[in-house]
């Protein structure tokens, strides 16, 4: 029963730090990661056994699956047809991905590491961005729609990046096309099956007993398991979270599924919190690396580069879509926070092989912790920062 003690440690520490960060009006994601770092392997090592570490990690993985299921379900790309939207999405991706990529190459990372770094740097935190739009009462302004759209576009890119990166991580060059093909086939299979079964599934969702919730989890775990079994059969990695994403997207078309989808949200919130903890808990914290001048310099460069990246892409988007540089700078400020997706991407692509990618993992973790806090400050004061920078540029 030591599991119970371990679970108590996880939930109580997350609750305490989470509550503290809400009181400080900060985003809670770094708090959960920090709780994991302090109590986990590189900290006090309070979790009782290896088995418990595995158990907590396992719960965290469920959180990531549910997160991707959630995003897939809410995913709505109808907005792509509106003028300028595609331009906005591509500019955001182009500028920020290149910024991360350039720095990765500059510090001598391998091509694959550079690719992962660039992806993590590109993706903003929808959670922080969207909640600050609501809190700041920006929803009436046209740029709110642009920002929300950017978050949607980033979801599309995230799905593509995950498919590509997990395939590349499978090892040998020859296997990459095989993995890509298998993943794509599985996605098509998921969509077709759900479509075929929808007449059978949707009446089950309308029942009042435990059947609907069982069904939705059976689907989520069932399809994830197929992805897992396929990756064992074939010597390549097919990520279950990608399948969860597309399963969500397929299910959103099934009648009466919304109520059940909403029922999964609280599960997502719980397990995702455990995921952030477990990520911090497994983090190999090495003082020597983390406090070396080189590391700090690289981190500082990365942060400066990616903050300016979002402002530059924001400015370009603002000029083109709203005809205003100031609006663009606000868009930049709102999209600065990074968070859940950078960490999820890293965890999914690298998995448990953190040892081999020590510099990359440390860099991204430190980066996300800092930019989720600094970035939400930027987002919170988006108006003033936008105006401030605008004046600064216009001054001379």
């Amino acid at each position: 029963m030591t599991f119970l003690v371990d679970l108590a440690i996880v939930t109580v520490s997350c609750l305490a730090l989470g509550l503290a960060s809400k009181y400080l009006r900060q985003t809670a994601i770094p708090a959960y990661i920090i709780a994991g770092i302090i109590l986990g392997k590189s900290g006090f090592d309070l979790i009782s056994s290896e088995a418990s570490y595995d158990f907590i990690q396992w719960l965290g993985r469920v959180g990531v699956i549910l997160l991707m299921f959630y995003i897939g379900y809410e995913f709505n790309f109808k907005g792509i047809k509106e003028p300028g939207r595609l331009f906005a999405g591509c500019t955001d991706f182009g500028v920020n991905f290149i910024a991360g990529f350039a720095l990765g190459l500059l510090i001598g990372m391998s091509l694959i590491e550079t690719f992962i770094l660039a992806s993590a740097v590109y993706i903003s935190s929808s959670a922080i961005t969207i909640s600050s739009l609501i809190e700041n009462k920006r929803l009436i302004y046209p740029e709110a729609e642009t920002v929300v759209w950017l978050m949607v576009f980033e979801d599309i890119i995230l799905a593509i990046l995950l498919v590509v990166l997990t395939s590349i991580m499978s090892g040998s060059l020859a296997l990459i096309p095989v993995c890509l093909a298998t993943t794509l086939l599985l996605i098509v299979f998921t969509f077709t099956l759900i479509k075929r079964l929808s007449n059978f599934i949707s009446p089950l969702f309308e029942r009042d007993d435990e059947i609907p919730i069982l069904l939705i989890f059976a689907l989520i775990f069932g399809f994830s398991a197929i992805a897992y079994l396929l990756s064992i059969l074939l010597p390549c990695h097919i990520s279950e979270v990608i399948i969860a994403f597309f399963l969500g997207s397929a299910l959103s078309g099934v009648k009466s599924s919304r109520k059940l989808f909403e029922a999964t949200i609280s599960f997502k919130n719980l397990f995702l919190t455990i995921f952030f903890f477990s990520f911090g808990m497994m983090f190999q914290f090495q003082f020597a690396t983390l406090f070396s001048a080189y590391f700090i310099l690289v981190l500082f460069a990365l942060i400066t580069l990616s903050v300016s990246g979002k402002f530059i892409s924001g400015a370009l988007i603002g000029k083109r879509l709203h005809g205003s540089l100031e609006t663009g700078l606000r868009v930049g400020a709102y999209t600065t926070p990074r968070g859940e997706f950078s960490i999820v991407l890293l965890a999914v692509v690298i998995g448990t092989r953190t040892g081999n990618y020590e510099l990359l993992v440390s860099l991204v973790v430190a980066y996300v912790i800092i930019l989720s806090i600094v970035g939400s400050g930027f987002a919170k004061h988006g108006d003033r920062i936008g105006k401030g920078i605008y004046k600064l540029i216009r001054l001379p």
Binding site: E74, G79, K137, L139, E145
Partner: protein
Amino acid sequence: MRISELPEIGTKYEIESPKGDKVAVIFLTTGEIELYVLEAGAEKPSVTRLTPEEARRVGSVLTGALLTIEHEDVEVSFSDISDLRINIHVCPVTKGMVGKSIEDLAIRKRTGVTIIALSRKGQSIISPPPETVFEEGDLIVALGEREQIKACAREILGQV
């Protein structure tokens, strides 16, 4: 009216007056409703967050059904028939009415008001027959023109 989907936030309905003032209603995915008003040239919008119940009340005021606080009075107007306004009045029965029937009181004859429903111990009786006898604690729903409702309140309910 512009309608736009804001994924993960909700749906936005937006209207701009010729003066440039903007009003937006956002149905949040949480079920609550945010009402934005942005005056032309203003730095910041005014925003309020309403529960569905409050939003419905605001909505019925805007669409023409009037709610007055003293007596729950609803005025219904119809967009196609401009001069037709019907008042619906809800009130508890008064002491003088208890034990008497609708017929005894001659409500319609004296005031022109029709009793369209009765709520008794949580049960509602729609279109009560004239022989229905009022009991203490009944809530009546009366329908008529504004003047008729006033007459009813004065003569039958004994309110001034």
